[in-house]
Subunit: 255 residues, 2 copies
Amino acid sequence: MITVSIIGTGNVAWHLAKCLSAKAGIHLKQIIGRNGDTLAQFSEFAPCTADISSQQIVDVLIIAVSDTAIAQIPKQIKDGHQLVVHTSGSMPMNALEPLVNRGVFYPLQTFSKGFAVDWSNIPLCLEVFQEEHQVLLLKLASAIGNEVHFINSKEREKLHLAAVFVNNFGNHLLAYAEKICEEGNLDFSLLQPLAEETVKKAFVLGSENAQTGPAKRGDTISLKKHLTLLKDKDQINTYKELTNYILKKYGRKEL
Amino acid sequence: MITVSIIGTGNVAWHLAKCLSAKAGIHLKQIIGRNGDTLAQFSEFAPCTADISSQQIVDVLIIAVSDTAIAQIPKQIKDGHQLVVHTSGSMPMNALEPLVNRGVFYPLQTFSKGFAVDWSNIPLCLEVFQEEHQVLLLKLASAIGNEVHFINSKEREKLHLAAVFVNNFGNHLLAYAEKICEEGNLDFSLLQPLAEETVKKAFVLGSENAQTGPAKRGDTISLKKHLTLLKDKDQINTYKELTNYILKKYGRKEL
């Protein structure tokens, strides 16, 4: 039996709590958070407290708070926890100094409260400061998912940066597409099979082989026609800029 | 039995030929293309010819050539075909003038030769100039897929523009992520579950609700740190520009 507590009441904390509370072999002891309202959303998963000083000693204490709040936590951690991990993609493991029994448990996925995720499919990126903690963290991760990787802080920050391009910027492009559909009274869901195929092809063929469209072909007539259809300034600029990067990448003259 | 021929030997033509040649109720009569080498890839699907003047009269003649080549085709079309359609997202139906029996059969998907597609899931966007042809085109489309929509030329060009944001630009962002992974000796496939979830969330929650990340939160520290990690000039500029659009969208100060 691994005993686990979670500090934090954000999206990652919520999904972890939901998952851990249902796992055999894991005992979720406490959820600790400052905000009483959000803390109430966790009451079905484990006992909740807003008082960090009342923390119970556990095998793995998971700090799932925002990046900027991590630095405040170590000084409030009691001695005796076997391992203390944060869940951030971009913060180094050493953000948990001076704790020696420190590590990272970074689930590489986007989380929204109430939107179910499939943990079996999420890459769990682990790091420990002391080798002796590898087995414990691996055991916890294996209870949660199937995709477990040891990845150090330097690698993880690059992975997180790549993830921003994929998710944050990727969603922003989908937002442009959604807006164009709305303005044209078109059902946005018409584009879902295309979006799914775009992802599938990039990972199966590689993004280089998967690139298609007027910019890759250097089809300036279509590109200019598209620009006349756009009215929103940000859409026009994004269209121009991304088009020019693709034109340049494939050795063509920029717009 | 609907008789069909295809003019063109590109990716769309290849996938249509493969699909139509295997359908009961459809007789794929001819593939017509100028390029002998690519035409040879179609010989398993139907009789092939490089001589457009040897075209046989069919119920539906599908013109699946590049946008810029469409204008050359109508004058080479014999009288007697029941319906002549092109497959372009961005060209209006009237690109087939002076043909009166004209229409559009636009499959909203990205196609690469040899990369299997699931036709049951592809939105087939139809348009006809003469109402009497609706039933015929609907019958053909229904034999191929389950997602059939009548969409006019004005709507289709907007849909195609939105598709460029989703696929061409979306893939370009995935290319950046792939490059960052390569440079960091990280397995690009670690990002596949995130990319799939990004698409899923945008269509289930809407892209507005699905947006997450440092730009949306206005987390300037993370944003500036990411910029120091990037070396490639295009990556830096894309990061800055897309970040600024998101910052602005959510009422925050630009970088």
